[in-house]
């Protein structure tokens, strides 16, 4: 048991290392990943300025843009990873190795988180310095707690998607495409989701990013504390408690199904 745990942790660390090393070896990627989000944010901020919206809206956009970087990473570099491994032919190696598949996903998630955090911090700092966004941060620990809970919930969702991508490759690819922009919209990445109609808000409440974004904005921009964001914390904890075991179950189920149907390592399906 202990031996297997150590083995799985080694595998997770190695996968994290590969992701960080691979993700930062070619600097031109880094530049593109930092500049493009800042341009997107700028467009929204100028629209708000033109419409004479309250100054905290610029802050909403910057926090939204920072967190969107994580969502994009979860969708394309986490959920789709097993799919890419299958297409490039390295998936077989993972599945013949005596390791937990969750350890690999955990390593991918941590690596993706580290890489994206570096980019997200740049976006955040650039946004704050360029647009002079007023911050009112009274409870930094609450902000950190909300941030980490959001990240865990998002990556747990990514782990769940990973098993779907594993089996339904191309179909899942289209699903991810379908999820990207609607999630930006529903979670209120560039505006407070409370402006959405009630029924749409109900739909939004099925996305962990909605609760994370709302909570972080309240704490960092509006200066609120744990007293007002505790429902966000509870919601995120519930998401994590449901998504993590579900991801583990789904991965094991899909792997077994893949072996039964002979599609586990079949490419271009």
């Amino acid at each position: 048991m202990r031996e297997q745990l150590v083995h799985d942790l080694r595998a997770a660390y190695a996968r994290l290392w590969v992701r960080i090393k691979g993700g930062n070896r070619e600097p031109e990627w880094l530049i593109a990943e930092m500049i493009i989000p800042v341009l997107t944010l700028s467009a929204y901020i100028y629209i708000y300025k033109m419409l004479k919206a309250p100054p905290e809206f610029a802050g909403f956009v910057i926090i939204g843009g920072t967190m969107v970087a994580f969502w994009t990473n979860v969708l394309w570099n986490m959920s789709a990873q097993f799919y890419w491994e299958k297409e490039t032919g390295t998936l077989e190696v993972y599945f013949v190795a005596p390791i937990s598949r969750m350890a690999i996903l955990f390593g991918m998630a941590l690596g993706g988180f580290v890489n994206t955090t570096l980019r997200a911090i740049t976006v955040l700092l650039a946004g704050i310095l360029i647009f002079q966004v007023p911050l009112t941060l009274n409870e930094p620990l609450t902000a950190l707690l909300l941030f980490f809970l959001t990240i865990i919930a998002l990556y747990a969702l990514g782990m769940l998607f990973a098993s779907l991508f594993l089996m339904y490759g191309r179909e899942a690819w289209h699903t991810a495409n379908l999820l990207q922009e609607p999630v930006h919209f529903l979670s209120g990445s560039y505006f407070p989701y409370t402006y959405l109609p009630f029924l749409v808000q109900l739909l939004s409440s099925m996305i962990p990013l909605t609760f994370g974004l709302d909570g972080i904005r309240r704490v960092i921009i509006m200066g609120q504390g744990i007293g007002s964001v505790w429902p966000n914390i509870v919601a995120l904890v519930i998401f994590i408690l449901i998504l993590l075991p579900l991801a583990k179950f789904a991965l094991s189920y899909m792997e077994n199904l893949g072996k039964k149907e002979g599609r586990l390592t079949l490419r271009w399906q």
Binding site: A14, V18, T90, E92, V93, G262, T265
Partner: protein, 325 residues
């Protein structure tokens, strides 16, 4: 007695086009002993990769059972994975953006090696497989041959008790293939590190490397013995190679001739020639075949008697060569 690998009436079906059930493996019963280099020889689509995928826990059988070192591959998957490794020909041996050394270190962690043990092992394998000059080169920049050496190095990192090689020399040049074959034979025979199960459709490879060979076609094992014994079993059959000056020669008349065990042909568009290989019960049939070819106004470029090969064993069993699948 426990065998290294044992399969009992192993079967695997797939749903083909229009939901037609395709039998990839049909009641395969085999045993492979410790230290053997065992070859599974057959044309593309014969069921070789399916067999290996089941034994390496990548696929579940639809019937029967398979054991590696006594562990059931369907029920004790993690125990099996701890003692095996798989190297497939033409596979991507890792991440293109990482160097050879970095890729090997990464895989060593999947096999649970501590970094110090892994580094020693990697150093040794890089020397043994002659990839030193590319140690710090990105994998993406390696040639096909060096990529395959890297794959083999990856497959040996965990000192597997059973090494599965699926078409390990696919697409490699003659020299690289020879080097890899010789390394694998030394690994299994001289150093007695483990058992090898090899799938190939290269006859010479199976002949040169394997202690025993099973010939598989359409999911069924047709024969299983040492290459020498299999060839000896051809007995009194005569094998003749006839080269004719056309790629459009029609050999369908052979089907109607009595005493023909089987035949295969290799057509070369570059030289506009076809080499016909015929296995006949009597040598006297040669003149009859030649006259039938001449009736088609084909120029006979050469006729040679040939020594039996594993391909001839295959021809004698199924009546056709690999290339006619």
């Amino acid at each position: 007695m426990q065998h290294c690998i044992e399969t009992k009436e192993l079967g695997r079906t797939f749903k083909g086009q229009e939901k037609k059930v395709v039998k990839a493996l049909d009641n395969v019963t085999l045993t492979i002993e410790d230290g053997e280099i065992f070859g599974l020889l057959g044309p593309n689509g014969a069921g070789k990769t399916t067999f290996i995928k089941i034994l390496t826990t990548l696929l579940l059988p639809t019937s029967g059972a398979a054991y590696v070192k006594g562990f059931n591959v369907a029920k004790e998957q993690n125990k099996v994975r701890k003692i095996i490794n798989l190297v497939s020909g033409g596979e991507t041996p890792g991440y293109g953006i990482l160097s050879v050394k970095e890729n090997l270190w990464f895989f060593s962690q999947l096999y649970g090696l501590s970094t110090s043990v892994a580094n020693e092992k990697i150093k040794q394998l890089i020397v043994d497989l002659d990839i030193e000059e590319f140690t710090n080169s990105r994998m993406a920049k390696l040639s096909t041959g060096y990529k395959q050496r890297l794959s083999l190095a990856r497959g040996l990192l965990n000192d597997p008790k059973v090494l599965f090689l699926d078409e390990p020399t696919l697409g490699l040049d003659v020299l690289t293939s020879m080097k890899l074959r010789s390394y694998i034979v030394d690994w299994a025979k001289k150093e007695k590190k483990g058992t090898v199960l090899l799938t190939t459709h290269y006859m010479a490879e199976a002949d040169e490397m394997c202690d025993r060979v099973a010939i598989i076609d359409r999911g069924k094992i047709l024969a299983c013995d040492s290459p020498l014994t299999l060839k000896e079993k051809l007995g009194e059959n005569q094998i003749v190679k006839i080269e004719v000056s056309s790629v459009q020669a029609d050999f369908s008349f052979l089907e109607k001739m009595k005493g023909i065990v089987g035949h295969s042909q290799t057509r070369s568009i570059q030289t506009n020639t076809t080499t016909l290989k015929v296995m006949a019960r009597e040598e006297s049939m040669l003149s009859e075949i030649v006259s039938k070819l001449e009736e088609q106004k084909l120029k006979i470029l050469s006729t040679n008697k040939a020594e039996p090969t594993l391909e001839d064993v295959y021809i004698s069993l199924v009546g056709r060569g690999f290339e006619e699948e």
